[in-house]
Structures are given as structure tokens and as C-alpha cells.
Amino acid sequence: MNARKTTLARPADKRARTLVTPEGLVLPLVLAARAPRAAALMIDVMIVVFSLVIFQLLVVWVAGGLLDGTALDPAGMSGGALEFLGIVMALFVFCTWYGYFLVQELGPRGATLGKRMVGIRIAARRGARLTPEAVIARNLLRDIEIFYPIVALITLTIMAQQGQEIGILSAILTIWFALFLLFPFFNRDALRAGDIVAGTWVVERPKAQLASVLSVQGAAAGASNVTGVRYAFGEAELSVYGEKELQTLERVLRDSPAEALAATHKAICRKIGWEPGAGDERAFLEAFYAQLRARLEADMRFGKRKADKFS
């Protein structure tokens, strides 16, 4: 039963990787799932498209001003001014499209606005240093991975709807492009083609606040506030549970409602052979947690570890 538990990995475990820092410390890393990555890309594309549309409207508005200046006579418009607007537009589109991703992913957060919103960032594989070359490489490939496939598919659909003959070549081309689009589904690390070429992957950004110290609160340090009882557990009672149960208890104490506390209290009392009372569950659990942890940590210092209640 034990063995099966460890082999049946949860989805999050499948995405767990490790990173070895230059100090030789192994850090856990969680790869980003595909759905948040797609969502991040959509947010980014929407931001870029919206800013381009707004810019375009601005340019049209300026051009409208030019038209007004010539008393609404298009022939009298200055060719140079219009041309200048055209150049500004073309350069703006190019710089926005590539610059948006490049500059942000090279920044200290390693993420575009969309990636930040869904809580992911890019990193070099295997704990290497992220370089500007890698960021450039992964962004240059985005066009053939995402946009050419989508454009090809849409073109093909429209052609089919208009009853046009679809050549075998364009169908093959579309399938070929679609392969790029689906690339992250064909490898274990959910790498897209750009990630492979650049040597990067996308990971979740960890968010953890430092929680309070449990062992100095309430009955863990002394007597219960409610009843004034000082709970003390003997050797036999503390040897029932292991580290896994300790950490479950920690979670319960940190963020579970009162009903869960009562249920846990009852379960522990049954297990260690105490008569479960009522009304002072929190103090009981705090004291039990502190004493169980003290015992397990003392054993740990002598190299003795107890993974869970079965071991």
C-alpha cells in the first residue's frame, strides 16, 4: 500500500523538478502547467494588440488633422507627413511586437505582464544562468510556433468555406505548422520549440509567507488558556505518529476551521487511547503538536526518522 501511494503521483508531482544551486543546494521547482502559459500568452497578445490599435487610432486621428489642415482636400495633403506617419507606424509595430517580450523577460522578474499575472516566469534549464541570447532565441521562434499556424488554419478554414479547392500542399503545410502549435504536448517538460532552442523552461513563481511560530503559541508553551490544564504526553502516546501526520496536524492548526480541529482531536484521542473531551481541542492539539515535534526532531538529530505512522 505504501509503495502504491508513492508511485501514484499527483499532477503537481509530475511537474516537480529540482534545481541545484552553485552552493550544492537542491531546490524544488514546479514547471508551469500548459493552461496558465496559454492564458499568459493570450493576455500578452491582447495587451500588444490593444496598444497597437490605440496607436493606430492616434495615427489616424493625426492624419485626420492633416486632412482638416488642407480644407478637406485629400490632394492637397502633404505626402511627406503621411509617409512619416507610415514609417512611425511600421517601426512601432515591429518594436512593440518583439520588444514587449524581450525587454520584460530580460528584466529581474523574467516574465511578461501576462506571465506575472498568472504567477509564472522563465528560467534556464538545469539551473544555468539566463542569458540575453536565450531570451532572444525563444522569442524569435514564437512567430512560427503560434502565429503562422493560426493564420494558416484560419486561411484554410475560410478557403474551405468558400468552396475553394484546397491543395494537398497547403494542407500539409498547415499540419506542419500545427505540429509546432502542439509541441508542448509532446514532451515531458512542456517545452515549446522556442524553449528547446533557447535552453529555457517556464516555472511557477513560488509564493510563501513566513508563517508564525506554532510552538510558542497557546498551550504549546504552557497551560491551556481555557481550562488551565497542562497537557503532557508520554512516550507511548508520542510514538504513534510520524512526520507525515505531524505536518498534517500543522496544516490543521494553521488554517482549518473549528470543526476540523474537533474531528482531528477526536481521531488522535482514539488513536492514543485518551477519552476525548470537548471545548479545549485547540489547546490539546497545540500541546500534542509541540511535544510530538520535539520528540521527532530529537530523534532526527540522532539520525532516526519516522516518515509516517506505518513506519
Binding site: T21, P108, R129, V135, P206, K207
Partner: protein, 356 residues
């Protein structure tokens, strides 16, 4: 007591002053309480670095960062062996990871990288691709010859390569005068700047495509090169029929020496990645592809710059300069410049660059 200072840095009222260290019954909690101040200081520094700009961080903090990072890392190593407090372990893991990204993050931003790129990084990357450039050059020459031979064999190929638009003068059977007129400059400079901007977007898109297609073992990149050069071969054949091949070459050379060089480099960059994936050598396929991809990416940034230059040349000098000799001089100068920059410009490595 450090606590009040720390919580004011943090800007969050939620951080309570840590309890008295002596009151902690557990040895592992005493360990945590003793080091908590350093951890929180590191967290505050990292948070400010993430928010952007090293400028807003005090010098003291910046100097302390590596030491604080190592403290947190060693705290984590010790805590893993002595503490069963899951929340503290999770916090430390997250903190060390965030700090690792800052301490071992990109060493410099885009602007600094661009400087190193112009001062040697670009030409070094191009030289590293010499074999791929030779292969791509061979393919391009072969493509031109194929284009010529195809059209010489059967004129119908010309229409297959260039689906003729209405009013297109450059078709088989056109007279010498019609062809010459297509090489002459347009009327004045009106519209040329816009033309240049359009050319640039178009050409750099083609180059990026050639590079990106290299991913499939480089074969699509080569096909793209062959196709583009076959067009050139067909065009050469057409003008040769009227004895205008020198004029055409001059007309093309103004921007073509830069543009074709750029296309050559992007094809070579694509091929470089494809070759690394097909023949990774002793490295793993993914590592070989990544190393090649980074080298090729540097070349590609250069190609985009070359396309800007080519578009400007195509729009202005080519349309404004009509004399065959002057056109050759401009094109030849550009070619010499690129060759000299890539082959002869070898500044010493300044130790800025990462090996890759």
C-alpha cells in the same frame, strides 16, 4: 530589537514582532527565530530588486545580498536536517529560489548586451557559424543556377515562379527598353521612406522564418533559400536574354549585397540549429540545440539590423542613383564593409560574455 525596523521596511502591518527567542521550547524554533531577521531582510531586498532597478536599493543592502543569500541557503540546508516545521521549510525554499534568480540572474540588461554585441559579439557569432555559412552559400548558388536552368529549359517555369501581375513589365518576351525602364529610378524621392519601412518588415519576416524553420533539421531553411535564389536565377535569365545582365546586377547589388548576405546568415543560423539537433555529438540533443540556438540568436539580431540597412539602401540610393558604375560602387562598398566587419574585426574578449 530589530523587529520594528523590519516590519516598517516591509510595509505590511501583518508582520508581528517575533516572540522572544528564549520562550521557544523547540531547538528548531530557536534556530528559526535567531535567523528570521536576516531572512526577512533578504526577502525585502529581493522584492525590491524584482520590482525593478538596482538604483533604488541602498549600497549596504546590495553588498549584503550575497551574504544574506548564502545565509538563507545554509539555513535551508540545516533546517532540512533539523526542523519538521513544514511552513518554515516551504518559506525558505521559496525565498532561496527567488534570491537565486536575482543573484544568478541575467548579468546585464538589454542595452549593455547590445553594446557588447556591436563591439565583437556579433562578428564572433558569425565566425562561429562558418561551416553553415559555407553550406548555405553553396545552396544559394545552386539555387540560382537551378532557377536559370529551369527557365531556360521551359519558359512556363517563369510564370510559375513569378505569378505575373497586370502591367508587370518583367516577363519573357519583354523588349530591351521595357526591361531597362524597370531598372530606372522612380520619379523623385516621394514615397521612398515608406517603401523602405515596408521592405524592412517584409524582409526581416522572411529572415526570421528562415531561421525558425531551421528547427526541423535545417531542411526547410535550405528549401527557402533555394526558392528565393531560384527567383533570382530566373530574373537573371530574363535580363540576359536582352544583354542586360550587368545592369541588373548593378541594380541588385546596391541593396542586394546586404540583403542577400542577411538571408545567407539567417539560413545559416537555421541550418546551425538543425545540424546541432541532427548531429548533437557527445552532448544531449536538447543541450546541443540550446547552445546552437543561443549562438544563432545573436546572428539573427544582426540579420535584423542588416535588413534595416538593406531596406534603406533599396529605398534611397537604388532609386536615386541611376548610373551602373555608381551602383556597383555602393554595393561593393557594403559587401567589403560586411566582410571586413565579420572576418577582420576581432576584439579581445572582455570577460563580459557568458560562455553560453
Amino acid at each position: 530589537m530589530k523587529a520594528p525596523v523590519i516590519s516598517s521596511w516591509f510595509g505590511r502591518g501583518a508582520v508581528a514582532a517575533p516572540p522572544d527567542i528564549e520562550s521557544a521550547a523547540l531547538r528548531s524554533d530557536r534556530f528559526r527565530l535567531e535567523r528570521e531577521g536576516d531572512w526577512r531582510r533578504l526577502e525585502a531586498i529581493v522584492a525590491r530588486m524584482e520590482r525593478g532597478g538596482l538604483r533604488r536599493i541602498a549600497d549596504d543592502d546590495l553588498i549584503a545580498l550575497p551574504a544574506l543569500y548564502r545565509t538563507a541557503a545554509s539555513s535551508l540546508a540545516v533546517a532540512r536536517e533539523t526542523s519538521l516545521d513544514a511552513a518554515t521549510l516551504a518559506y525558505l525554499e521559496a525565498l532561496v529560489q527567488r534570491a537565486w534568480f536575482q543573484v544568478y540572474g541575467p548579468r546585464y540588461g538589454f542595452v549593455r548586451w547590445l553594446r557588447g554585441f556591436f563591439l565583437g559579439g556579433w562578428s564572433r557569432a558569425v565566425r562561429a557559424l562558418w561551416l553553415d555559412i559555407c553550406i548555405a552559400l553553396f545552396v544559394m548558388v545552386a539555387g540560382t543556377i537551378v532557377g536559370w536552368l529551369l527557365v531556360a529549359e521551359d519558359e512556363a517555369w517563369y510564370y510559375r515562379l513569378f505569378p505575373a501581375g497586370i502591367g508587370e513589365a518583367r516577363v519573357p518576351g519583354a523588349s530591351r527598353e521595357q526591361l531597362l525602364r524597370s531598372l530606372a529610378h522612380d520619379e523623385g524621392a516621394a514615397g521612398l521612406a515608406g517603401f523602405a519601412a515596408q521592405l524592412f518588415s517584409n524582409n526581416s519576416a522572411v529572415c526570421i522564418l528562415a531561421f525558425a524553420l531551421g528547427f526541423a533539421f535545417g531542411i526547410p531553411s535550405l528549401l527557402l533559400l533555394v526558392h528565393n535564389m531560384a527567383l533570382l536565377g530566373a530574373m537573371l535569365w530574363l535580363f540576359d536574354g536582352q544583354g542586360l545582365v550587368v545592369e541588373l546586377a548593378a541594380w541588385l547589388s546596391v541593396h542586394g549585397t546586404t540583403e542577400l548576405f542577411g538571408i545567407l546568415l539567417s539560413g545559416a543560423a537555421g541550418l546551425h540549429i538543425g545540424r546541432a539537433m541532427a548531429f548533437p555529438g557527445p552532448a544531449a540533443v536538447l543541450d546541443a540545440a540550446a547552445a546552437a540556438g543561443r549562438r544563432a540568436a545573436v546572428v539573427m539580431v544582426g540579420v535584423v539590423i542588416m535588413m534595416v540597412v538593406a531596406a534603406l539602401l533599396e529605398a534611397f540610393p537604388r532609386q536615386l542613383v541611376e548610373d551602373t558604375g555608381s551602383r556597383f560602387v555602393i554595393g561593393g562598398t557594403m559587401l567589403t564593409f560586411w566582410l571586413a566587419y565579420f572576418c577582420l574585426y576581432r576584439p579581445a574578449l572582455q570577460g563580459l560574455e557568458d560562455g553560453g
